[in-house]
């Protein structure tokens, strides 16, 4: 079973993020860049599926990312966790791509690989759209098994079946589809392993293929800022909230708060 995990390098989620005035894109330089947190769970889930399905020979895990040069670090991190190979789509024309274009690039990159499962995190902490996995399933014409809190795969003669517990507002739905399929995982589905020293060393020797837009047969006008199908027309720092009333509890904090709620017609 061939598994591909799509990962994204994003600004550290604990850092303040900003848009660049020059082109309204995310300023990726001002904060530390890390692997999108949810992608760590995706990589871990892939490695667990590998372990349950014959190991790296039988079930190789390939890491795919679309991002600037620096995104190679994120591939290396996944390789040091235990993934086997990487594919990095990098091209200056990709700057400012929207989700639609990102899904196009990832789908075309997947077209260069053999895969039975594509696993992603549900969303990235910068854009937080949670649409790319669904868009990928749409483009690839395969079952969408997203928002998974649990993943089970049964390989069979015709490929296999993936069954996930899809998180809902009321609990979960058990959703299944035949491979090949797209899976996205939610936070806390597993506990991602820390790269071992041995893993970090081994990662340096694992193969990473670099692909450009030309390699994927995608025109520069289909992606990037120019190719985006939505645009930011203006942005501003949120106006500072007018300072509220802060009181110290001197045995009456609850009473004062109740007065505030009454005045605001909340009760």
């Amino acid at each position: 079973m061939n598994i591909v995990v799509c990962v994204k390098q994003v600004p550290d989620s604990w850092a303040e993020k900003k848009l660049q005035p020059s082109d309204s894109t995310l300023d990726r330089g001002s904060a530390d860049a890390v692997m999108n947190e949810l992608d760590e769970y995706a990589v871990e889930e892939a490695l667990r599926l590998q372990e349950a399905n014959g190991g790296p020979e039988a079930s190789p895990v390939t890491i795919l990312t679309m991002g600037p040069d620096k995104a190679a670090e994120t591939i290396r991190k996944a390789l040091s966790m235990g993934a086997d190979a990487g594919v990095h789509v990098v091209d200056d024309s990709l700057h400012g791509s929207d989700a639609v274009a990102t899904s196009l690039v990832l789908a075309k990159a997947l077209g260069t690989l053999s895969w039975d499962l594509v696993i992603l995190g549900t969303e990235s902490t910068d854009a937080r759209m949670s649409v790319v996995p669904a868009m990928l399933a749409e483009r690839l014409g395969v079952p969408q098994l997203t928002f998974a809190g649990k993943v089970d795969v049964e390989v069979d003669a015709e490929g296999g079946v993936a069954r996930v517990q899809r998180v809902t507002d009321t609990g979960f739905d058990t959703v299944e589809g035949r491979l090949p399929a797209v899976i996205s995982v939610v936070e806390k589905i597993n506990e991602p392993r820390y790269p071992s020293f041995k893993g970090i060393m081994a990662a340096k020797k694992k193969p990473v293929t670099t692909l450009s837009l030309a390699d994927l047969g995608i025109g520069a006008d289909e992606v990037g800022l120019a190719g985006a199908w939505s645009t930011v027309t203006e942005f501003a720092a949120r106006p500072p909230k007018a300072a509220g009333t802060i009181v110290k509890d001197e045995g009456d904090g609850g009473v004062k708060l109740a007065e505030f709620l009454v005045a605001g017609k909340f009760i």
Partner: protein, 320 residues
Amino acid sequence: MAEILVLVDHVDGAVKKVTTELLTLAASLGEPSAVLVGAGFDVAKARLAEFGAAKVYVVDGDGSGGSADHVVAPAAEALAQLVASQAPAAVLVASTAEGKEVAGRLAVKLGSGVITDAIGVSDGFVATQSVFGGSTVVQSKVTHGTPVIAVRPNATPPVAAPAAGERVDVAVTFSAAALAAKVVDRTIAARTGRPELSEASIVVSGGRGVGGPEGFAPVEELADVLGAAVGASRAATDAGWYPHQFQVGQTGKTVSPQLYIANGISGAIQHRAGMQTSKTIVVVNKDPEAPLFEIADFGVVGDLHTVLPQLVAEIKKHKA
């Protein structure tokens, strides 16, 4: 008048509050038509008509097409077919997990741009979004194709505007690809009896300051006396003090209620990202330096274990 399609969020025809909000929003931009996928029109009609749906397109109205047992893709296919036949000015869906996925798939099908997490949409379908934990407000628009916009629950006060709600059945044959992911079982977690977190008008949350799982008791009591949902910070759910599905924050749920009461939560960006657009924010924390006080409309520097019980008692007195 420009037709605006609004995808209905429902369970067997019981229409969710967010749909009434989207219909109200659509009415400010054009003429709303609801799109109901699955069975339940007879149950849904009154509410959809009350909030402005001139028409209700019914897809898979008898449920035989399989929309109820398949995830996201059938609704996207239904909307794509309607966009092709009706050429609406825009499509609005709720910015929920499922709604966003429908929006994403629809955008790819249509060759349209898509905007999610809109907290407002104005003339010309300019969407307002609050991003990066609420620190930046953005105006954005779709520049290609039919705008597909996912709008956050609680962003628009619903206003009754009775309309015809005329049923229009639409025959959609779902493709094999749309039926590829099948729901084989549904598991309902024990009901709390409280409103659902992302739809609730009032949310009462607990964080590290509650001190342990039993520390949530005063938080829950306050929620119950206010008819509110309960939320938890990442610190509290990581520590196992409250179930993960109630986490509000960067990697949890994003909420935008009328009133958000944060107890024992310091307010690092991880949490703020999930609640910063709440209309009124109340903070209770022992630490006067807690960052969350910076965005509070009202704050109490004190121990939630004494403040909340006193507050609950006052509320009960007031209601009596």
